[in-house]
């Protein structure tokens, strides 16, 4: 049994930036009703860049590890850079994920896209 790749296991075991912000500028909750995975993503901006970020949620190792990885990637980035974050690139960094699980792997990224689209709260 090959198991999951190092990145997934590592982020799943020791999630980064898990929790909630007191006063996020942007926030979105993305759920996959088919499997029950949920990810909440919160962003706090300063000078147009992500100063702080948190996620929480429930679900499989892939969805939670992906959310954790995403929080690391967005930190310090400007809004324009965030919008450029592509699915393929993100999946590449996460490591091999079967097609059946791509929806789990992208949940957090979709939450980010939604948070950006929906604008400040």
């Amino acid at each position: 049994m090959k198991g999951y790749g190092e990145v997934i296991l590592e982020h799943w075991r020791r999630p980064r930036n898990r929790g909630r912000l007191r006063a996020p500028d942007r926030e979105a909750v993305q759920a996959n009703p088919l499997c029950g995975d949920v990810v909440r993503l919160q962003l706090f901006f300063e000078d147009g860049c992500v100063r702080d970020v948190r996620f929480d949620g429930e679900g499989c190792a892939i969805s939670q590890a992906a959310a954790s990885l995403l929080t690391e990637k967005v930190k310090g980035k400007a809004t324009a850079q965030l919008a450029e974050l592509g699915e393929r690139e993100f999946l590449g960094e996460l490591g091999e994920v079967t097609a059946t699980r791509a929806g789990c792997a992208l949940l957090a990224l979709w939450a980010l896209q939604r948070a950006l689209k929906e604008g400040p709260r």
Partner: protein, 407 residues
Amino acid sequence: MAIDVQGIRRDFPILERRAGEKPLLYLDSAATSHKPAPVIEAVASFYRESNANVHRALYRLAAEATELYEAARGKVATLLGARSEEIVFVRGTTEALNLAAHTVGEARLGAGDTVVVTEMEHHANLVPWQQTARRHGARLEAVPVTDSGELGLSAYERLLSSGAKVVALAHASNLLGTINPIPELAQAAHRAGALLVVDAAQTVPHMPVSVRELGADMLAFSGHKMLGPTGIGVLWARGDLLEELPPFMTGGEMIGEVWLDKATWADPPRRFEAGTPPFAQAVGLGVAVDYLAELGLVDVRAHDVELVERVLEGLSRREHVTVYGPREPSARAGLVSFNVAGVHPHDVATLLDQEGIAIRAGHHCAQPLVRRLGVPATCRASFYVYNTTEEVDAFLWALDEAWRLLK
């Protein structure tokens, strides 16, 4: 007598395929079963030799096709201890239960009546009743599930006495495996003046089922879960009830006479088979019924129980595993749902898939029950005639591997 699993396996071409580098170890027959070569071949040779639309045509090819179609109906009737006119061919359990809910609603339900379902129903035996209850102003009540995964019988009696007109429940739960005591439940329903509609999707493929012994009024199942083709299923109903019920879908074949502004209906079962039926699939189902009858459903059941016993025994020795449903193998259908502590069911399924092992993880189309269990989802391994005790052991080994990697 035990069935000859190795001999059976040779009849299932798909078992020769590999999943990646591993041989396919298929533990998802509760979702859909594989098909033996005689069934695959029956459908193919129907198209090659006997294909024609059934009913009404006057040429011999059509007469032959019609005979094959009706012979399949006869085989299903024999399997259930029913009469041919009581067998309605539909797409599957879901259509059968929609048909039942719609027509029973039209014929029997009014404002203030109660429809009784249970907390362990598959969505197919819940949502159609929600819809029909709403349409007719009836109340929908659900029998609760006890902590041991059984129906709460005193609640059942109580709900029956609140004006129940129809009870719809699973013969066996596709998540818990629980086999419900239909004969007793039917008697109680009938005493209260209610019809009993049975979702037998998980039992007809796996054990002898006699509609008279069950005492049911209607019973539904799918061909694709019993070695048959997809696209074919059965609604059985008592002859006099079928006579009483209005049609569900309308169109060709199900009519008596049609005018621009009105129509009359054919007698059952044709009244309920609007349009061109899935006749090639019905012929395939007939051959699946032959195949199961040849094995003997008593022995098919014994094989399921043997595998369930082995897997229950194995899982219960693993402290990080929670098993849902009755402890006693003979009280369950051929499937086991479980969870691994701290590991999401989807991760279990994905890791097992790396070993070529196909199990299902999710809500198994029973969201209210999963909610009742207080978990986001479960894993489920389900068995059939082609599964071996070695496969059970390989599954348990792989589960240990997954635990080692993810714990």
